[in-house]
Amino acid sequence: MKADPKGVLTGEHYLDGDYACAEGAMAAGCRFVAGYPITPSTEVVERMALRFPFMGGVFIQMEDEMASMNAILGGAWGGKKTMTVTSGPGFSLMMENLGLGVMMEVPCVLVNVQRGGPSTGLPTMVGQADMMQARWGSHGDYEIIALSPASPQEAFEYTIEAFNLSETYRVPVLLMMDECVGHMTEKVVIPTADKIDLVPRKLTKLPPEKYLPYKTDSSMVPEMIVAGEGYKIHTTGLTHDERGYPVMTPECQEKLVRRLVDKIRKNAEKIIHIEETQIQGADVVVMAYGITSRVAQPAIDRARKEGMKVGQIKLITVWPFPEKRVAELSKKIKAWVVPEINYGQVSLEVERCAGGKARTILVPHGGGWVHDPDNIYKAIKEAVK
């Protein structure tokens, strides 16, 4: 299905990442946003508050982040595409109800414009230290999808991709931006509405007597309904069976939670989106995401000029992590260089998947600013030895 032209600001614009994300959401058909202001994400909701009234959307500033997360879950059941926006401290608050979204299988998008942490940290400065929290933040077993844009243009495009993934897999999708991308102003080209492809919500065509809210076919994704259409469904955060009724037995737990995890894990290859450059014959591969993938570029170019064989992988989906590809490449290369604005998060995944076949060299940065490309160059040089 194509985008609704009312929400698409076609043209060439000079926008910052936060505004581009808002434009992406509106282009994707998002029409209900509940948020709580937190630097550096506030601009996203400010833009939506400004533009929503003219396209039939509703923005409400809720009283806190927990309310925001729950409001978007309710809004999704009400039939709209929904989104909320936050940063580190708010992300922590939303964790319990992110779990509710996973358990109830609600399609929605949660944007985290990362900042320096922990706790209040560096509210106006960049960080990338929520990446593991994105995967493991809520309690219990679950799998989540997380995307990481590296420019305002990507913020626009990957917000749309986030909505599409959330509708395809009926799971909340995280958009892990960082403050640098969020507050960076660059050219953003927004196409016409007919060039934007959207995934519509998979609503059931069965009559109410035959419909079971959590019965699935081989896709492992159940069909959804809109509240108020006469289906009179029940859904709960408790472990439930196909009818949506709570059934608290180990068998039901196994059946349900395994499906919730498998629906992402078994479809990982379709979800994973990475960009590989010059991997063939490389000795060292630099893996980065978000703003760091751009900061690493001068270091990589310099290393290549000096004759080093450096490949690069830019992660667009950070979760699910490209485990198979990393394991496969680890047999052929000497080392991974993982620069990230944290003290080692995605690098732990790389190390795990490398299985000892290649070294993993972390180039950490506490946050507050981006890396000095020199440090990344030094790490690459070290790796090539």
């Binding site: 509703v58 925001s68 309710g74 509710l100 009179k232 709960t236």
Partner: protein
């Protein structure tokens, strides 16, 4: 003794019969409240039942959503009201009811409660007040009267409890009433009035909890508590909202306290933006109410 053959109970079409019998204890007042709620739903005519959704939190009362045959949502602890807010704003045609307990709505959900009332969200909140956190074993609640015993106040509660009607009224609720599980007909009427009311309507129902509140405080069974309500509740419609505190095993003042008009959140949003942008803004949700509402500001 007469042995009557089982026929269908008149409320069965409103219940998820595959889940009856429910989990509530013998002599619990929640079943009575749900029964009156269903009686009110039968008389509710503003919308078809398809358009009615019910949201509950966690706790004994939180299980209500699971037994009523409507679009029902059993959410996390304290978050029924924001969930209901999202549901209503995304789909304004729905009638959204929040049916939850005192601990769920007022303690962890307190922040959401006061803001939804302030905004005058068009939802109906039914709060079952049994003065305790029953499901988890009888812990003290923000409504537990002074000196009452609970598992986390084993020496007696020394914290001043909330007066729920006062809280709701001061935050801006447009309909505030309190009844007990004994007052079944007035409770049903209150539910119907609350459902028909536009805006944040709040009904508090004092119910017996025999297994936790009753047992810990040696108050007997639910029937003994009902007899207590019979002897000690006093109807004072329109009573001063500041006089409604409940002391341990003392008089309970019940009745309808607030019934006023205020524009709802959606009304205010529409009136304000329409006034400012004219034709550029399309009215959101239900058609323009016939009773003119005073614009915000």
């Amino acid at each position: 003794m007469e042995q009557i053959v089982h026929e269908e109970h008149p409320m069965e079409s409103y219940l998820r019969m595959d889940r009856i019998p429910h989990i509530w204890c013998p002599t619990c007042g929640i079943g009575t409240t749900v029964s009156c709620f269903i009686s009110a739903l039968k008389k509710y005519e503003q919308r078809s039942l398809e358009k009615v959704a019910i949201v509950s939190g966690i706790g004994c009362t939180g299980r209500v959503a699971g037994y009523v045959k409507l679009d029902s949502f059993h959410t996390t602890h304290g978050r029924a009201i924001p969930f209901a807010t999202g549901l209503k704003l995304a789909n304004p045609d729905l009638k959204v009811i929040v049916f939850s307990g005192d601990g769920d709505l007022i303690s962890i959900g307190g922040n959401h409660f006061i803001h939804a009332a302030r905004r005058n969200m068009d939802i109906t909140v039914i709060c079952i007040n049994n003065f305790i956190y029953a499901m988890t074993g009888g812990q003290v609640a923000p409504t537990t009267p002074l000196t009452a015993l609970a598992s986390t106040s084993p020496h007696g509660n020394f914290e001043q409890p909330f007066s729920l009607p006062q809280l709701a009224a001061s935050c801006g609720a447009v309909y505030v009433a309190r009844w007990t599980a004994l007052h079944i007909r007035r409770m049903t009427n209150a539910f119907l009035e609350a459902l028909n009311k536009r805006g944040f309507s709040f009904v508090e129902i004092i119910t017996p909890c025999s297994t936790l509140y009753g047992r810990r405080n040696r108050l007997g069974t639910g029937l003994d508590l009902m007899k207590f309500y019979y002897d000690n509740s006093e109807i004072q419609h329109g009573a001063d909202i500041r006089s409604l505190d409940i002391e341990f095993q003392k008089k309970i003042i019940i009745g309808k306290f607030i019934d006023r008009e205020r524009p709802t959140f959606i009304d205010s949003m529409n009136t304000h933006l329409k006034g400012k942008y004219g034709d550029k803004y399309e009215w959101y949700g239900e058609k323009i109410p016939e009773v003119p509402v005073k614009a915000a500001g």
